[in-house]
């Protein structure tokens, strides 16, 4: 606080600078108003047309502010989320939606990751079967031996994990 007060002497200069900046951005200044939380929820699904990879909800660009105001106005006239999104989609095309519609070329975008995950799992499944076949020849422990080891360990087993991998635990 003290720092703020001591800096007061600089204030006129600062105001001048700020006013000069604002004069450069009249569009932004015109868009100052209250916005509902729902506005940002919708704005986060729209791309800011002039920005690089920012949503309307994030950006401070003049057009993003204008679009937020538009969303607010639409909501005030009773439009719902879907209707607002359609409003912008009609004007800018699918490109404005951050959630690419699942049709046309975008289908590849949605289906490829699923295909990759399923393909990976299938490949893993095939390999696992092969490896298990290779590992099937192992000797099974005699249940009597297992029971004896358990008895020796005091049957305190609470389902613990395998022991430390590289630094064997010693009791």
């Amino acid at each position: 606080m003290t720092r703020l007060r001591t800096s007061r002497s600089l204030a006129p200069l600062a105001w001048l600078a700020l006013l000069a900046l604002l004069a450069l951005a009249p569009a932004a200044a015109a868009q100052e108003q209250e916005l509902d939380p729902r506005v940002f929820e919708i704005a986060n699904e729209l791309r800011c047309p002039t920005c690089v990879s920012e949503s309307v909800g994030q950006s401070n660009a003049a057009i993003a502010r204008e679009m937020r105001t538009l969303i607010q106005e639409q909501l005030e006239t009773g439009a719902n989320r879907a209707e607002v999104l359609v409003f912008f989609q009609e004007r800018y095309g699918d490109w404005i939606l951050l959630d690419p519609p699942k049709r046309g070329v975008n289908l590849a975008l949605w289906l490829l990751p699923v295909a990759a995950a399923l393909g990976g799992l299938t490949m893993l499944g095939v390999l696992l079967r092969r490896w298990r076949a290779a590992g099937a020849a192992h000797v099974e422990a005699d249940p009597a031996d297992v029971a004896r080891v358990r008895a020796v360990l005091g049957a305190t087993d609470v389902g613990g994990p395998a022991e430390e991998d590289d630094e064997p635990w010693r009791t």
Binding site: S7, L18, R68, A134, G160, P161, E167
Partner: protein, 666 residues
């Protein structure tokens, strides 16, 4: 008189380092091929020379920045006389040329340390040769494509200063350095993997030699990503921490593959499986750091965070293609050596869980890569413009993340080779109970969203898993030895650094997941008009704008408003959202003011102008539940990594005494 300017000194340092590095790459390889110890030693010692030469260049750049030597092009373009000292220091990596220089410098530092500390094995000369080859690329870029040391014939009197977004937060001093330490750290296992392929020794030697480097690189990358999130949160003014922006995406892709790698190598260490797979994973990780740098530095994909556009894109693309082609060719040539004769006892086992998590992380990385380059591909093929934004990435990645977190609870409890059905059932019963309890509490508290509820359930699941892990390790020993739980726990944690450290990291991941859940699932984002002196309600708070202010500090002009924050009639804090401008740059940066609490953050940012005579001000107010947990969880993950890496105590070889065998019947 010949004037040795800082620019000339820097250029000379880089040129010398480049020449040395070319020599060391060749000498290392030839020395290894001919088994010529002298050449090998010469290559190793040259690493130190390279490091010193690049250090000279970095010192020259730092001196130029600190003394405002505008005859150096980089300083003229990115620094400014009245910037504070710390800004001048971090300007070293605030733009493209400087950040490539930093990257190269860290790389030479790592290579020098490796050259000195790596034990003398057949892998060493090749690994050092590969490190030098990578280094030649980076030094070449610094020398030819993005030389920051170009001397200006007519130096300006002052420069524009660093990008305002970067000057606006001290995190800029930390986040990029961590990122490069991570990238460079992951170069080390790559170099040893190449050496393993060249020398036909694709066993576990290369990964054991580089285990610490890999973990450290992964830890740095993790810390870099989380700290980058915090930087976004504090600086970008919309109260978020992750936007699936291209720069964020290319940083998380190598993290995902590196995470798969550090899990997957354990299968090879333990079961001698997955040789080829692990080699491919580290090649992929290293290649993705190059591809990512290409994508965001070339301008083919633009991003809010891409602070250094420049001419290096084609070089990174070329190097990426060379690395990918050479490594894959090498793997193909060595296929006979890397082929596994794998065998698996059971799918439900530790190795089974690791294999599953591999598929998941790779799928995540693929989805992120596809989403990032999809607009580019479509535009190249059809000319159409498409947008792929956060909603896509959320929808695709969230289901996968849920499975990752489910496996994270199960995997560590599963023994190698084969899980015993009875134990597994009992463990899963406990964990399911905890998950149901946690999700039930969330539902009872009114949570209805699907993913947040599942995440809370999975947090319960994982906490139960930690409890079972610790109980399984400690209770039996305490019973047998008769020592107290606390003392057994202490020695367990101390003697099992790797395992206990991994538990800490996993716990950190759970905390981060909860933070992300709260902050992205339940944030409230609103724009309010605050009349001076009139309380305005927001999410249980009363906000009172008291007065506008203006201040000038170290080349920065701030104009903002003081807002008193009341809760239940009591003033809890005063926030001061502001707009900063730097020097004579046109860009004004709205800078948020945040009240941090463990439950939620109150985040205020100016959404309109502040004028002395206006009766009100427009504020963007964000309430973000649990966002602090992300930073805490990130710190826990970093601490866990440090714990894992901390030197293990010399293991005391205990003799079998009558005491320790008491109770064991013959």
């Amino acid at each position: 008189m010949f004037d040795l300017s800082l620019g000339v000194l820097g250029s000379a340092g880089v040129a010398l380092a480049l020449a040395f590095s070319v020599y060391a790459a060749i000498a290392g390889a030839v020395g290894a091929q001919r088994r010529d110890a002298r050449l090998q030693t010469s290559a190793r010692l040259t690493s130190i020379g390279v490091f010193l030469a690049v250090t000279t260049a970095v010192v020259a750049m730092m001196a130029a920045l600190l003394t405002d030597d505008f005859s150096v092009k980089y300083v003229a373009e990115h620094s400014r006389i009245d910037s504070p000292l710390w800004v001048k220091v971090v300007t070293l990596w605030a733009a493209l040329e400087g950040s490539v220089l930093l990257w190269a410098w860290l790389l030479t530092g790592y290579t020098a340390i490796l050259s000195v500390t790596t034990p003398n094995t057949a892998l060493r000369p090749w690994a050092i040769s590969v490190m030098h080859t990578v280094q030649v690329f980076f030094l070449g870029v610094v020398a030819f494509a993005a030389n920051p040391f170009i001397v200006l014939a007519a130096p300006p009197l002052d420069g524009p200063g660093a990008n305002p977004l970067l000057q606006n937060h001290w995190m800029m001093a930390v986040h990029p350095v961590l990122m490069y330490l991570g990238f460079v750290g992951l170069t080390v296992p790559f170099a040893f993997a190449m050496a393993a392929l060249i020398t036909k020794r694709p066993g576990t030697e290369w990964m054991r030699l580089t285990r610490r480097w890999t973990l450290a690189g992964w830890g740095f990358l993790t810390a870099a990503i989380i700290s980058g999130g915090w930087w976004s949160y504090e600086v970008l003014g919309w109260g978020g921490f992750w936007a699936w922006d291209p720069v964020e995406n290319v940083s998380i892709m190598p993290w995902l593959t590196a995470t798969a790698f550090i899990h997957s190598v354990q299968v090879q260490e333990r079961r001698r499986m997955l040789k080829a797979w692990n080699l491919l994973l580290i090649v992929l990780t290293f290649s993705l750091t190059l591809l990512g740098t290409f994508l965001i530095r070339s301008g083919v994909i633009s991003s809010v965070h891409a602070f250094g556009d420049g001419p290096v894109g084609p070089y990174f693309l070329t190097f990426f293609l060379i690395v990918a082609f050479a490594s894959l060719t090498l793997v193909a040539l060595r296929w006979d050596q890397v082929r596994d004769r794998s065998e698996l006892d059971a799918v439900v086992s530790r190795e089974g869980a690791f294999l599953g998590v591999n598929v998941l992380f790779l799928s995540l990385a693929f989805a992120v890569l596809l989403g990032t380059i999809f607009p580019l591909l479509v535009e190249a093929v059809t000319g159409a413009r498409v947008t792929v934004g956060a909603p896509f990435f959320d929808q695709v990645s969230l289901p996968l993340w849920m499975i990752v977190f489910a496996l994270m609870g199960v995997g560590p409890l599963l023994p190698w080779r084969r899980a015993e059905t009875q134990t597994l059932k009992r463990n899963l019963t406990w964990m399911l109970g905890a998950a149901a309890l946690a999700a039930g509490i969330a539902l009872a508290l009114g949570m209805r969203k699907v993913y947040p509820t599942i995440t809370i359930g999975l947090a319960g699941w994982n906490l139960a898993s930690f409890a079972l892990l610790l109980a399984g390790a400690i209770v039996p020993r305490a019973r047998i030895t008769g020592r107290s739980f606390a003392s057994v726990f202490k020695s367990y944690a101390y003697e099992n650094k790797r395992r206990f450290g991994s538990m800490i990291v996993h716990l950190g991941a759970v905390i981060v997941a909860l933070g992300i859940t709260g902050a992205s699932g339940y944030r409230v984002d609103q724009q309010l008009r605050l009349e001076y002196g009139v309380p305005t309600a927001f999410q249980g708070y009363e906000l009172v704008a008291t007065e506008p202010f203006a201040e000038r500090t170290g080349g920065r002009l701030s104009v903002g408003v003081l807002v008193d924050v009341f809760q239940n009639g009591r003033q809890v804090t005063t926030l001061s959202p502001r707009i900063n401008t730097f020097g004579n740059q046109q860009m004004n940066v709205p800078t948020a003011s945040v009240r941090y609490t463990i439950g939620h953050d109150l985040y205020l940012s100016l959404a309109g102008s502040v004028t002395p005579d206006a009766p009100s001000v427009i504020i963007r107010a964000v309430q973000s539940p649990m966002v602090t947990w992300i930073w805490i969880g990130g710190a826990v993950m970093a601490l866990g990594t440090i714990y894992t890496l901390s030197p293990a105590r010399e293991r005391v070889r205990r003799r079998v005494t009558s005491e320790s065998t008491a109770g064991v019947e013959a």
